[in-house]
């Protein structure tokens, strides 16, 4: 899933303080799972903002709504009737949702309420970690199912670097070295010989480097 984290309330106040009527728009997908922008967080943020502006002596209408998805036109259409009642939308969806909402409600300012962080998984409640950087050409088949692009601090394809120590990455004792994990996994798969295969120079044109990407699937197009 896409993992996001809450923005500091001060930053959000700065974004919305000049408006009088705002809609806080949550999303029921990834940001709900990572507890940053679901219905619950919409409610908490709305209360905090109401109290803040009340104390400031500013009258502010703050409404709450959470859509099934903000990266989908069908669900975004659900607020078509009410969008005009607000002079700004504060979206707690990931960066994709924020932008898609802004595209659908072009004349309305749409502000981000979360920082979109990475593609990751829930390791335990309150702990999410990165697993993929969407490089567009997945290499997991040759790395024992562990991604060196997202999990090695230097995205080394022929690792580990000289800084790997006691299974930890040179940048932090808290971080497991991805190449340590890869070697361990190859060992348990009885495939350690594969370690010696040189990973060729990667074509990064399918990555961010190649410019904004798109997937076109004629087989599913209507």
């Amino acid at each position: 899933m896409i993992v996001a984290d809450k923005k500091p309330i001060e930053e959000i106040i700065e974004e919305v303080k000049d408006h009088d009527k705002i809609l806080i728009l949550g999303c029921n997908e990834c940001v709900t799972v990572c507890e940053a922008g679901g219905k619950k967080e919409v409610g908490v943020l709305a209360s905090a903002l109401r109290i803040y502006f009340l104390n400031q002596g500013k009258e502010m209408k703050i409404d709450e709504r959470t859509l099934e998805r903000q990266c989908d036109q069908e669900y975004l259409d659900e607020i078509r009737d009410v969008a005009d009642d607000y002079d700004a939308i504060l979206s707690l969806a990931c960066g994709v949702g924020v932008q898609f909402t802004a595209e659908q409600y072009f004349s309305r300012p749409v502000y981000p309420g979360v920082n979109t962080c990475f593609l990751g998984a829930t390791e335990e409640r309150g702990l999410w970690t990165e697993r993929c950087q969407a490089c567009g050409q997945c290499v997991l088949a040759s790395t024992g199912g562990i991604c060196p692009i997202s999990r090695c601090a230097k995205r080394i394809l022929n690792g580990p670097c000289g800084g790997s120590s006691n299974g930890k990455c040179e940048i932090s004792k808290e971080l497991t070295c991805a190449w340590h994990l890869i070697v361990e996994r190859l060992k348990s798969l009885d495939r350690l010989d594969d370690y010696e295969k040189l990973f060729p120079i990667k074509d990064w044109s399918t990555d961010r480097a190649g410019g904004p990407r798109k997937v076109v699937r004629e087989d599913v197009q209507l």
């Binding site: 230097k154 022929n158 000289g162 790997s164 370690y195 040189l198």
Partner: protein
């Protein structure tokens, strides 16, 4: 090992069967070329070639290439260190051409420390290639005379290609396979991480010999003399991938503070003497960090002076 493939003086000395001696100089954090020239003056008669580090520990410094040119203009033999952290494949190939245009004939391919160690923690890192792929790239440019993109290079670069190896990093079981992998990528000489744990190094060398790797690559044993017990403790606890045995820390701590530096030099000399007997060790890389003036003493006391005239 066979005929020299490049005009590198280091390569000629190694292929002639002599023990090679290299050292390194870190460029200054400013524009004064004398900083690098003075360091080089201190060691030039005692080493065959001098590494110039590339923004080591990710601190921004005068660039490795320009520093190498200063050495070249002094008539010395530089080894251009290049990390893959800061440059993509365009910049790396371009700098290789630039170096070769000044007849710089040695290069060391490295990944580089993470930028979070340095003065630009908020910067991006590039890592378009990794160190193995940089080895492949420079060998491809030299041997095929072609760019990565496939076009011909007019007057291809003629570099003797090196890399680092850390026999002490984890996991140990891939340390020798990793060396084999670098050799497969095309590396011709290796400078190792600083050796303090001689037993572990010996084990690594034994495994490398068993696979015939010491016949395929020149291994220069890396050494850094300790200035004090404090430095030994710091290296032991703080520097990733460094293996400093407790006995060594104890030995340094066992002598009065003002004598610890000399003890550090003595330890380094004793290590070299032991390593000289180790089959497969083809030379020494003496990294006396901000202590270049000690290199001549170490080289002389270990019988590695005078240096061959290539």
């Amino acid at each position: 090992m066979s005929e020299a493939k490049t005009p590198s003086k280091l390569e000629k000395i190694l292929r002639a069967g002599h023990l090679g001696v290299t050292s390194e100089c870190g460029p200054p954090r400013g524009t004064d070329p004398d900083a690098i020239k003075k360091k080089a003056e201190l060691i030039k008669d005692h080493v065959d070639a001098i590494n110039i580090t590339d923004n080591q520990t990710s601190m921004t410094r005068l660039c490795s290439l320009a520093s190498c040119i200063h050495l070249k203009l002094m008539g010395l033999e530089p080894i251009l260190q290049m990390v893959t952290r800061d440059r993509n494949r365009i910049a790396l190939q371009s700098d290789i051409l630039g170096a070769a245009s000044f007849d710089i004939h040695n290069m060391l391919c490295l990944t580089g420390d993470h930028q979070s160690f340095g003065d630009c923690k908020q910067g991006q890192n590039v890592h378009d290639l990794d160190s193995m792929q940089l080895i492949q790239t420079v060998r491809h440019m030299r041997d095929e005379g072609k760019f990565l993109g496939g076009d011909d290079i007019k007057r291809p670069p003629n570099m003797f290609v090196g890399a680092a190896a850390n026999p002490f990093a984890d996991p140990f079981e891939i340390r020798v396979p990793r060396l084999a992998k670098k050799i497969a990528a095309g590396v011709e000489f290796i400078q190792t991480q600083c050796i303090y744990n001689l037993e572990k190094f010996e084990e690594w060398m034994r495994l490398a010999r068993e696979r015939g790797l010491t016949e395929k690559v020149f291994i220069l044993a890396g050494l850094t003399p300790m200035k004090s017990a404090g430095m030994a403790k710091y290296m032991k606890n703080r520097v990733p991938g460094m293996d400093v045995p407790d006995e060594l820390v104890k030995r340094l701590a066992g002598v009065p503070k003002e004598k610890q530096a000399q003890e550090g030099i003595d330890i380094c000399v004793e290590s070299i003497q032991r390593l000289k007997e180790m089959e497969g060790v083809k030379g020494f890389h003496i990294m006396a960090i901000e202590w270049e003036e000690k290199v001549p003493e170490i080289v002389e006391r270990t019988g590695l002076h005078p240096r061959p005239k290539n």
